[in-house]
Symmetry: C2
Amino acid sequence: MSVELRAFQSLKLWHDVHLDLVHHGGDLSSRQIAILLTIYLEPPPHTVRGLARKLRVTKPVITRALDTMGKLDLVARRRDEADRRNVVIQRTVAGALAVERLGDVITAHAKELPR
Amino acid sequence: MSVELRAFQSLKLWHDVHLDLVHHGGDLSSRQIAILLTIYLEPPPHTVRGLARKLRVTKPVITRALDTMGKLDLVARRRDEADRRNVVIQRTVAGALAVERLGDVITAHAKELPR
DNA sequence: GTCAAATAATACGGCGCCGAAACGAACGGT
DNA sequence: ACCGTTCGTTTCGGCGCCGTATTATTTGAC
């Protein structure tokens, strides 16, 4: 029963945060969220190939997500001068702020949950 | 600093669960997730109008989401016989299982987080 | 210098969701 | 019986993401 309760709390958190995102958030797909958070939570450098491997998706998925998030100024691309085939994905100020804000939203809703 | 740490943990949870969803989950949009969880977490009855109000989206959004999730057998529709203008949204066995499974995924990842 | 391998980007056809507007069915007051 | 209101659905043009296949650039081995 306590297990069920915990699952319910988790689901309520999921529900509340998604509700928040629907209203105030630029809506990114699950894939885009996973990519964005990988970039901001795991140590750089990040490449298209590396992200594709880590998330087990094809490279065009990464390229397109970077296009979209780049337009939103959430990430930036830079050619790797050491090996010009590679593209290094860089964080941006706006992106860092957006991720930070997301973290705040999650923790705020988590705090409201009964323990 | 402890605040930052908690935000980081929240973001890691968000990242990990989304990663899981990308691989094993039927991919629903943020709106669809919010709708689905509202139906399964809040007490019935649910109507198109009520869901639209609660999520602050237009009614066609609800109709289309119900179409999609209905095809996936996550929810079902029933005409309200008392007032035949209304449509009552019903839960399904498959939907309950899917929601339960999502709860399990979230709690499992949450458990792995350092406190 | 040449060629195979690796990397990222692009082209293509398809599918799903969007917002706004129009629509049809059902209700309720008079 | 009418008529305004409510409810859910449908239509329309548009946009974004998908997977697969192809392209362009760069590298490194020989």
